[in-house]
Symmetry: C2
Amino acid sequence: MAIWLDWSEADFEAKFAAFLTTKREVSEDVGQTVREIIADVRARGDAALTEYTLRFDQLDFAETPMRVTDEEIEDALAQVEPDVLDALHLAAARITKHHSRQMPKDDIYEDDIGVGLGSRWTAIEAVGLYVPGGSASYPSSVLMNALPAKVAGVPRVVMVVPAMRGKINPTVLAAARIAGVDEIYRIGGAQAVAALAYGTETISPVAKIVGPGNAYVAAAKREVFGTVGIDMIAGPSEVLAIADKDNDPDWIAADLLAQAEHDRAAQAILISDDAAFAKAVSDAVERQLRLLPRADTAAASWRDYGAVIIVPSLDKSVPLANRIAAEHLELAVADPDALMEGIRNAGAIFIGRHTPEVIGDYVGGSNHVLPTARSARFSSGLSVLEYVKRTSILRLGPDQLRALGPSAIALAKSEGLDAHARSVGIRLNLGS
Amino acid sequence: MAIWLDWSEADFEAKFAAFLTTKREVSEDVGQTVREIIADVRARGDAALTEYTLRFDQLDFAETPMRVTDEEIEDALAQVEPDVLDALHLAAARITKHHSRQMPKDDIYEDDIGVGLGSRWTAIEAVGLYVPGGSASYPSSVLMNALPAKVAGVPRVVMVVPAMRGKINPTVLAAARIAGVDEIYRIGGAQAVAALAYGTETISPVAKIVGPGNAYVAAAKREVFGTVGIDMIAGPSEVLAIADKDNDPDWIAADLLAQAEHDRAAQAILISDDAAFAKAVSDAVERQLRLLPRADTAAASWRDYGAVIIVPSLDKSVPLANRIAAEHLELAVADPDALMEGIRNAGAIFIGRHTPEVIGDYVGGSNHVLPTARSARFSSGLSVLEYVKRTSILRLGPDQLRALGPSAIALAKSEGLDAHARSVGIRLNLGS
C-alpha cells in the first residue's frame, strides 16, 4: 500500500517535504574496481577487453568475433516478429520526424557597428551508445538514443552491448540496424566504456558516451568524463498522474503500474481532488497487480515509493507537481491546458485521458530518455542537442577594434591582466 | 622555450599525439574534506557556515552580515573608475543583446495524424553563481555567467563570493549589480556550494550552481550534482593561433602571452606555415615576457605547455586544430573563411588579424566561458541554454490512440513489459 497524503491535514507540508527527499537509490561504491578495469583496458586494449569479457560474460573472442557482423544483423531482422518489426519502423519514422525539428540553426550576423558574431553548430564526430544486456536490453532505448544522433548528423555511432555467452536480443540488433548504428561490439560493463573512451586495436575511440547501464557502467562514465562527454546518469523511472474523478480508475491504475513494473525503485504518484476516486484507483492497483507477470517488482515499487495525494482542488496540484518535478506527468483532467499553464518542472507532459505515458515510451515520436529524481528542475530530456555542439564566432575589422578595444583594455587592466591589455593595445598603437 | 614540432619530420605524428595527451592539471584529492563540510552545512545550516567562514576567511558574521547590503553595492559602484564602469556597461549591453538571440523557441504542433507534439522551454527557477575570491575574482566572469541567466528569465540569481576579512572587490559588486544579480552572500568554498544546494536559514536553495572555483569548489559541485544541476568544470585556459607570415609577430606573441599569463597551466599554441615567422613570434614572446607583471606565470606556461607547430601549408592546420579542439582558436590568416570551413572542434573562433581573443573575454558580446582541455569535441560554451530546460509534450485523442496503440502494445510485449501493454490496451478495450 502506497503512502496517502492529504492536503487538508495539518502536517501535510512536513510529510510532503519528507516524501520529496526520499532516496530511491543506493549507489554501490564500485569506483575502485572500475578505475582498475579502465586503466587496464587503456593500457592493454583488446587483450584486456578479451579477458574481462571471458570472465564476466563467458564469451570467448577466439570463437566469436567482438564485432557483430552484417550477416548476424540480417539474421536477427529475419527472426523478429513482423508486427514488432513494423512497430519498430513506425517508431523510428516518428522519432526521426519529431527530432528533425530540434536541430538548432546556425546564427551568424553582423551587429550595428559591424562586428561579426555567431553560433555555428556541428555534430559530434563519434558517439558510443551503451545498451544493457539481459532483461534490461530494450530495443526502444536503442531507437531513442541512436536516432537523434543520426538526425544530428553524427557520422559514426558505435553500439556496445554485453552478450552473455555471445547472445544478443535479435530485436535489439534489428533496432540498431533500423536506427542506422554503424558498428556493434559484444562488450559491456566498465571495460566497454573504457574501450569507447580510449580506443583499442579493434575499436576507435568516440567523443561522447550515452545510454543507461548498471552501477559499474555509471561509475565508468563518471570516471571517463572529461576525456569524453557523457549524458546524464539516469535514475529509476517515475510517473505523476494528476487525475480528476471522471477517469476510469482502472485506466489510471494501469498507468501507475506501467511505471511500477520497471524497477523496485520506480515511483508512481497519483494526485486527485477526489478521495473516493483515489481510493478506487488504489483498489484497482491492488486488483491489477495480481494479473502482472512482473507483480513482485510492481508491488514493491508501489508499496515502498508509491503515493496518493489528495488536494482540495486541482489547481493546488500545480505547485506540488513543480516540486515533485516528475520525469513523466500525466494530466488526466477535463481541462489539462489550465493546469499545464502553471507547470514549470516536468520531463514530459502527457495531456488528456487518451495519452497514457506508455505511448511516449514507444511510438509518440518524442524521446523517452527524460530527467529523473527531480532533475527536471534543471535539466531536459534527450534531444538532438545532446549530439551537437556550438562554436561561437567573433570577427572584427580595424574599425570595430578601435570602437571596442579601449573598453577591453580598461577591463583587462582592472583585472590585473596586463598581457590581455597589451594584446589589444599593440594593435591600436597604444604602446607595448 | 615552448616545444617545437615540424610536420615534415618523420616522428611528427607520434610527437603530436603525445602532445595532445599532455595533462596540464593535477587534481587534488579533496573529496573527503568536501563531503564532511557539505554534510555539516546540510545538518547545521547557518551555524556551520558561520564557523567555516570564520576559520577559512577570517570573517565573523556576528560583525559583518552574511548578505551584502544594497548600500554596500551602491558604495562599490561609486568606487569603480568611470572608464571601467563604462566598459562594464558596454560589455553588459553587448552580452545581453547577443545572448538574447540564443533563447530557444517553443515548438508545439500537430502532426499529420493529429498527434500533438512539442517542446516547451522554461527558465530554471533559481541559479547560484560561484565567484572566486582574491586575484581570481573577475568582474567580467560575473557578467558572463549572470547575464545569460537573466536573459533566460531566471527569476532568482544568487551570487556567493568568499570575502577574506569581509572584503569584496568593488568592481565585482558593480558587475553583479549591472548584471541584475538578486542576492549576494559573503561565503565561499565547499560550504558555499553546500548552502546553495541544500539551503540554510538565511539562504534558500537553488536548482543549479554555475561558475569557476578552486579544487574544493569543483569537488563540492561534483558532490551536489543530482541534487542540483551544475555547469561544466572548467580547466585551465588555452589558445591556438593559426597565423601566416603576413602578421606582425609582436601581435601574435601578445595573444599567446594573454593566455599564458592566466595560469601556469594555461596553454598557448602557434601553428604557422612559415618557420621564420614562427621563430620571430617565439623571439617576440621572450622579449615581451620581460615587460609583464605576471611574467613568472606566463613564462612557466609558455615553457611547460607552449607549442609551435610548423605545417607545410595552412590547410594542413585544419585537421590538427580539430584534434587540439582548442577553447580559443585565432585565425590570423589572409583567407580565414577557407580554414573555418573545415573547423569542427573549437570553443570559439576569432577571425582575422583584428580579432584578438581578448575582445571575446570582455566586450565582443559572445560568452567567455568555453570548453577547455579538448572538450570542444563534445561540448559548447556557456549560453542561454545553460539556464533553461525543455519539457516535451504529447497529446493524443481517441483516434490517435487507436492508430498508434497497437504498435506500442507490440513493442511493450516484446520487451516483456505487460503493464505497459495493459495501460494502452485497457483504453482500446483490448482486454485487461
